[in-house]
Structures are given as C-alpha cells and as structure tokens.
Amino acid sequence: MYILGLSFFYHDSSATLLRDGVVLGAVQEERFSRKKFDNGFPLQSIQFLLQLAQINIDDIDKIIYYENPLKKLVRIIRSFVATAPRNLSTFGQAMNLQLRYKLWIKRVIRRETNFRGKISYVDHHQSHAASAFYPSPFNEAAFLTLDGVGEWATTTFGQGNSRGLEFFGEIDFPHSLGLLYAAFTYFTGFKINSGEYKLMGLAPYGEPRYLQTILDNLIDLKSDGSFRINQDYFDYATGEKMINEKFCSLFKRQARKPESDLTQDDMDLARSIQEVTELAVLNIATRVKKETGQKNLCLAGGVALNCVANSRLSRTNLFENIWVQPAAGDAGGSLGAALYFWHQILGKPNLFKSSNYFFNPYLGPAYNKKVIREFLDSNYLPYSAINEIEETTARLLADGYIIGWFQGRMEFGPRALGNRSILGHPGLPDMQKKMNLKIKFRESFRPFAPAVLEERAKEWFQEAVPSPYMLFVFPVCQNKRVPEKNGEKKLFGIDKLNVLRSLVPAITHVDYSARIQTVNQKTNLRFYTLIKKFYELTGLPMIINTSFNVRNEPIVRTPEEAYRCFMRTNMDYLILEDFLLTKKEQPKKEERDWEKLYELD
C-alpha cells in the first residue's frame, strides 16, 4: 500500500512516500525549485518519489495532507472576530487566500497531480507528533510538539505506544513559543522562518539582560507547565507585523534593519529570548514527564530545531532519552501525516522498533557514478576517479583544504549529515572565518558544527550522547580547551569570535559549545570511514561538517548544483561519489553578482 504525505502552502513544502509503512523517500520541494523554504505545491518532489518507487500517481492508495484547512479557517475567522474591527484589510487578504486556494487542498492536489484516489487530512500537530514518535527508536515514549501554529494548537504533548498516540494536552493560538521566538527573530533583524537559527547562534555572544523583562511582560510561565503570551505586545494574531509599538517601547528601540551591523543589544536580546525559550521548554517538559511518566521523550515542531534548548533539556535528566525528528519543522509534516495515517488510522503496528533502530534521514535523490560521469564528460570537466576516496579526502582535509562532499541520497530536513556537505579541518584557527566568509558567504559570527566519531565523542565533548542528526550541543571538554589569555576575558560581542578557545577552534562557539553530529558505521559508513581516516592522520576524531550550499541557497541536490556551488566559492576540491575534481584544473568561469540569484535569508 502506497501512502503519499504532503506538506505545502505554509512553510517548507515536502512530500513523503510510504510503502506498507516503510519510508521509501522524503524530500523538500526547495531542493528542486532552488527557492529556500519553498511553500509551493511539491510537484517535483512527488515526481521524484513516484520515479523512485517506479509507480505512477494512480498506484498511490491515499494522499494525506499535513493539516486540516477547515479547522485552520475557523481559527483565522475567530481570531479576526476577536480583534474586530482592527486589521480588517489583513482579514480580507487572509480570507482571499483561504477561500481561493488554501481551503481547497483536495482540488489543488487533484489538479496538480491528476490523482483520482482518496485524500485525507491530519491535524498539524498530529503530523508533528507522528513524525516524532513513529520514527524514534522507542516502543513507548512521551512526545512534545512545539511550533508557531497549526490549526489551533501551538504546543501539544502526550504519549505514544503500541496502541498509537494519545494526546494529553495542548496550548492554543495565540500562545505560541514559536511565534515568540519568531518575533525576536524579526526584532533583531533576521528573516522569519529562516533566521531563527541565526538568533540561536548569536545568543552566546550576549548577556541575558532582558530575561526578566521578557518574563515580566511578554510570557507568563505557569506552574502547570503551560505559558501565556501577552498579546498587548504582539500583532501576529491578525496583524501585518509580528510586534507592535508597545513591544518596541518595552525594549526602548526599533527592530534592527536587515543586514545592518549587529549591536551588543541585539546579542543580549538573542541571549535573553534563548534563555526564556529554554525555561519554557523545561517547564512544559516537566509537565509532560509528570503526566506521562515516560522515560523517553520525542520532540518535533520548529522549536525542536533549537538544539541549545534540546541540550539543556537533555542535561536535566528529566528523561533518560530524547529523540528529535531531524525534519522537525513543517517539512517533517508530510512524513508525520503519512505515518499517522498508517499507524494511527489504519492501526498498523510498527515492526521496525528496537532500541538500536536508526531513522534514516537519507531519503532524497541519489546520483550514481554513471550519471555523474555523464555530467562531467558531457561538460568536459577534468576529474579523476579515485579508488579509496575516503582516504584521499581525509588527506586533503588534513592538509587544510576545504572540500565539497557529495555522496548517496540527499538528507531530509534542514541539516546536511554527511551526504551533501562542505568539509574542513576543525583544528585550524582561521578555518571558521575562512569558511564563513569565503565559502558560505555568511555572517562571521555563525559557528560550524563538527561531525565526530560516535565512539570518541565523549573524549571531546562533555556528557555527549549520540546525536546523529546534529540537534544537540555539548561543551568541549575542559582538557581540550585552551586557557584564555589576559585581556581575552574582557572581550565582548563579536570580538570574542577570534579567540582561540580549544584544540578544535573552528567548531568551538564562544561559550565553548559545539553542535555535534555523531557518526557511526551504521548511520553513514562512508562518512564514518572518512572521519576515521582523518582521525588517524591528525588525532582529531572530527571534521567540520556544514551544509553544501552558500548563504540563502537550498542545499545542493544534483551533481551540477554541487559543481556550480563549488565553482562559485573558494572550495579547493569537490568529491562527487568517487570522482575528485580539483578547483585549479577546472575551466575558468567568470561570474559576478551570482549571490543576487538567491534572496537573502
């Protein structure tokens, strides 16, 4: 039985195909359309999945959409009625969109795909919960979903077991942790839906000066674990902006203009909202623990991509194990919707659960050697075919070169986990700056993440636990840190960036943390072998792993996209499966202003 899960029209469109409950493939439309967070209909994702399964659309038994458009419409109308007659024009726009397009999801699906079978809806947070629990390794677990908003719910929790998912409680719109974080993302000059992780990366540079202000005025963390957002300061429920003048007055400033210089105040705001988010997550997790009594927790929803909060939760030992869906945002909605239908509606058991079950995030397209060779040959690109590519790559990395690494199936979710990655030497002091400014062309304050051998992770990172999806941060061990020199302690803000903090400075953030990806032979053998070889050469059991793209560009999907990205940046080598391309040997390509091709994120 084939089930196709779809997510589109809000954030990050995607499609997932299940065959008898097994995930055959899942992919985000942005990877095809090359438009970051594309929310359009995921036609090419569907076409890819059909091709992958070698079926056509008529072979699909059921299509499941990841939220309920009617419930959403009711919420929108009620929200506007509650604030009427304010924001009438926005109401008109919202209703126009809803009544013309977003309400008629089934019609849109049929028109775009010619599908004649049955289409159903699953609630937004049911999708998130299913995407959290069913792919996790646990037979029984609590789940917690946190995001901006779906239909009504912004936060849900409950537990999953062999009987399915049970929802114990929810927090409804407009009280939303995701929207609170998004408001600060906007206020600090970043783009909503894409700048949240920048805000998180900025937080360690600041001090939580505004923590109490936020707790006193904006959010009320209740003793039962819930929270309420003070709507006096926000306009997102029905307005055209996230925040209002009162919000600006509270912080005695206006929103930072995008791309303008970051100030210490921006960093302090980032740190403050990060602390608040962590407190809120801990608060609600305590309630989840109390109500479910479970030792395992599964997380999903956009807020679950906040790896600093995840790690703080992990360190409390409230739960023995925490598993976070790698595509925790709306992209994972298509996966969750399909899984929800299979397990919850059809009542099919999960036959793959075991303690060492690994949810494979490599669910996108792959390109075999023949296809890559065709591309290289037909474009007259010089390359060499290498027998032991891991060893060669490890040597090049050890020599300080920056390498584009393109292998196997593309990752599902926002993180590159070793199949579409740019790799570098974490021990070189100037590597972070070089990679940020010359490779990724992004803000210099942003840290890089290491991919580390799972069995060596604890030697380098305090209390490290397996983190195969790069969704937890851990501090670098004391014995790997470099003592601060006189004067360095006094530095603040972005000046902290250039201080040598550890033996692996390129992946050590200013607070000594690192967002790690643990790699073992089971999760990604080739990537594991590469890191192992690098370890043998350098004594460092890790490499820098950042997504194979430049700022504002979706992660590369195809060999030609990888090649184009390679040529536009200062990468030294490109590895396409077993083929090695050297930058110096490539035909020169003059390219100016290519950055304008992608909207700033």
Partner: protein, 467 residues
C-alpha cells in the same frame, strides 16, 4: 511584426471587400471570380511596393523546390549579380536592415554563390583530379554558412588549412539552408556518390530538432518525409501540396496565416511548457540515427570515410549567470530561449557521443570552452551560426583534426559496424542525460505554474504565516 501587420491589414481590407461581393454576386462567381480579382489586386499592390520580382520579397530566392530533396539551392547564382532586391537574410551581413533600394540591397550582400550543381562555392568537375582527396561537407545552414563570403565558410577554410598541411584536398560545401539528415541521405545516395567522394563530413543536429518540433510540436512530424520550400520555411507544416505553392499568392497568404501565425508562432514560444515537453520526448532522435547509419552503410560499401562533427553553440547549461547575462544582452536570446538552445545542444552532443563507436566523431566544442562571454560572442552571429571569425576557427580545428587522423591520412575506411551494437545504441538514443531530464522537468514545472502559485502564496519575511 510589420510584415504580419501588413499581411493582416491587407487581409482585413480584402475580407471586407470580399463580404461586400458576397451580397452582389452569385454563389458560383463568389467562389472563383473574386479570388482571381483579389489575387490580381494583391499582385498589383505587391508589385507597386516591391517591384517586378516582388515574389522574392515573400519567400526566398536562393531556395527552390526540388523533386527529390523537397527543396534545394537554386543553381547558378551569385548573390552580388542578382539585379533585383532579394530578402534572403543569410546572404546579408549580420544585422543588416535589408533595403528595398536595389543599389543598397546589392552592396550589403556578402558573396554567396551557388554553382551549377547546386552546391555553395566554386564549380567542381564530375571526376576529380588524380591524387586529390575529395571531401564533402554535408549539413544545414551551419555548414552552408550564413552571412559570410564563400571563402570564409568553414569548409573553405578547412580546405586551406589542409592545403597548408600538405594534404591535396578539394572540399565541397554540401550544406543547404534548413536541411536535415534525411535530405542529406538522399543527396548522398542520389548525387554525391557520383562525384567520387573520398570523405564525407556530417554536420547535423539543430535542424533535426527544429524539423520535429516546428511541425505542431511533433504532432505532424513523420520520419523520412521531405517537404518543399514553402512547407519547410514558411508554413512549418507537414506536406500540403495543394496549399504549399506560390501560384496563388492569396492562397499562400491565407495558408501561412493559419500554419505560421496561428499554429507555429503560438506553439514555438519558449515560454510554452508544451515546447519543452516536446524537447523532452526526443522522438526525432531514432530517425536521425537511422539516417546517419544509412549514410554510413552506403559510404562503407563504397570505401568512403565518414566523420560526424560535434559543433559548438553559443549557450551552455553551465554558463555562469554573468556570462549568460552578456549573451542575453547582446543577442535575440531570452532566458528560456537560451536554456532551450543549451539543452538542445546537449541533446545533439549526447546523440553524437552515442554514435561515436560506429562513426568517428570530430570534437570541436571542447576547444571553444576557453572562450567565454564577449570573446565567445565574437565567434557567433546568432545563437548557432558562426561569424567569419568563428568559421575560421572551426575550419582550422576540423582541418587540424582530420590531418592528425590516421584513417584520413591513409584514406582507410573508418567505420566499424556491429549490428548488435547498432540495435542497442538505437534503443538508448532517445534517453537524455539524467541532468538534462532533471533540468527539463524543473523548467516545465516553472512554466506550468500558475501565476497565483508564484505570486499570491509567497512566504512573508516579516511575520510568521499564521494564515
């Protein structure tokens, strides 16, 4: 545009008068007499505007119908000696605004001569001189060459190049504007084999795809059908012997209005996703392959060497955005047009590479890679046709490669045919490179997307989309 507008205006005026007649004359007269009268009036009007040889303002002078090949070059003409205004674009310098004034019309022509056997360039004898290697360069307009003098066309340059390398060769330009592989096959079998050829160079591709897609996006296309001059160049239709003649200009106008203006022009827009779907299908490729193989078989039995040529185009899918921008600014190309050309070029390249195990390939595209942007533009007069500089470059490259080829030097047959291999290559010939299929799918989706899809549902960046 002006020509279409004029045509439409003339048709509207005639339509009004025609309707007026309906009321005045009987049904039988209505069918014939007015038609003749309007035909006469039309001719008078055209004569008034274009002069005595007004017909050649409507259609090419250099191309005429041919009983076997459908159409071919008019024999025994030299561009500069024609004593009336002609409008065949390819005999004028690039970018020339073709003048009605005879003197100006004549001075702006390049030297474009067709010999008594219908080949571009000087006369040649039926039997070659002893010791001379006779090479035929067969192809379409990219071989006949547009807007360059006879001695600047790449076959002529190649001849000089081979002479400079002490090869006694006589190169005959067998390219004809608009020809595709089937016409070349027919000419090879019916004509060229009688001229004692030693080598034939096949320079094909662009017209194969165009002949297919231009016929109602492949719906009317049939393999191995030759069409006359009007059908090929003015109607873009399949065979319509009754309509595709120039005896009655009114009929020609009306038929052209239907075939060209209402079908061809609409279908062939590069923003039409159906055109891209047509390119994706590649149904013409096996037919092209069959023609090439048949030429090669015939050549093999006669001990003639055959080479296929991979020829560069202006645009490439790998062009950087900066380079592409330069091409768009300096040519008639649009973004989708340029992409279409680049994909089409890759399809041709892939097909030639697949055929290479059977027929040796002369690779020239790679050599042009070092020229990008403005430098590359200098080699072209449009997206596919080479300038004098480009022809000089191509002629030299092909000459050099031939001179370095052992089979050519020894005049030893260079064709290896294994029937099984032919079958398996043919089965694969319609398949695109995976990355081309991917590109086509993305482009088709982009073009199919409704406006609402793009404009109305884009994510805002200053707030979370709660609705």
């Amino acid at each position: 545009m002006n020509l279409i507008k004029n045509r439409l205006l003339i048709l509207v005026i005639f339509g009004i008068i025609y309707l007026f007649w309906i009321r005045l004359v009987g049904f039988s007269i209505l069918l014939l007499v007015p038609f003749i009268v309007y035909e006469i009036i039309l001719r008078l009007v055209l004569r008034l505007i274009y002069g005595r040889q007004y017909r050649f303002a409507l259609y090419n002078y250099f191309i005429v119908d041919h009983p076997i090949y459908g159409n071919a070059f008019r024999k025994n003409i030299v561009s500069q000696k024609i004593d009336f205004p002609v409008f065949d674009k390819f005999i004028f310098k690039p970018g020339t605004h073709i003048s009605l004034d005879l003197a100006k019309n004549k001075t702006e022509r390049i030297k474009y001569s067709i010999n008594s056997r219908g080949f571009r360039g000087p006369e040649f004898s039926l039997t070659k001189k002893p010791g001379i290697i006779r090479v035929f360069a067969s192809g379409g307009s990219t071989t006949a060459c547009n807007s360059v003098d006879d001695d600047e066309a790449w076959p002529a340059v190649m001849e000089k190049e081979l002479h400079s390398r002490r090869h006694l060769v006589e190169v005959i330009n067998a390219g004809v504007q608009g020809w595709s592989s089937y016409q070349e096959l027919l000419r090879f079998k019916h004509e060229i084999v009688n001229y004692q050829p030693d080598v034939i160079l096949l320079h094909q591709g662009w017209n194969e795809e165009f002949a297919y897609s231009s016929q109602n996006l492949g719906r009317w296309w049939q393999p191995r059908v030759v069409r006359n001059m009007i059908e090929t160049r003015y109607f873009y239709s399949n065979k319509h012997p009754w309509l595709s003649q120039t005896r009655f200009l009114l009929l020609f106008y009306l038929a052209q209005l239907y075939f060209k203006d209402f079908i061809f022009n609409r279908q062939m827009r590069f923003t039409n996703p159906e055109r891209w779907i047509c390119l994706q299908r590649g149904e013409y490729l096996p037919a092209w392959f069959d023609n090439l193989i048949e030429i090669a078989r015939e050549a093999k039995t006669r001990g003639i060497l055959v080479y296929i040529i991979n020829y560069p185009g202006l645009c490439d899918l790998n062009d950087s955005s900066t380079v592409r921008e330069i091409y768009l600014k300096n040519t008639r190309l649009s973004r989708f047009y340029a992409d279409y050309q680049a994909v089409s070029k890759k399809q041709i390249q892939k097909t030639l590479k697949q055929i290479e195990p059977l027929i040796p390939l002369i690779e020239t595209e790679k050599e042009l890679l070092r020229y990008q942007a403005e430098e590359r533009l200098d080699f072209f007069i449009d997206e596919i046709h080479l300038s004098a500089k480009g022809n000089a470059w191509l002629g030299k490259i092909i000459g050099k490669k031939l001179a370095e080829d052992k089979n050519f030097v020894q005049l030893k047959s260079n064709l290896v045919f294994k029937e099984k291999e032919i079958g398996s290559i043919r089965n694969e010939i319609s398949k695109n490179y995976a990355y081309i299929d991917d590109f086509l799918a993305t482009t088709i989706k982009k073009l199919k997307q409704k406006k609402w899809h793009k404009d109305k549902l884009d994510l805002p960046t200053d707030r979370y989309t709660t609705f």
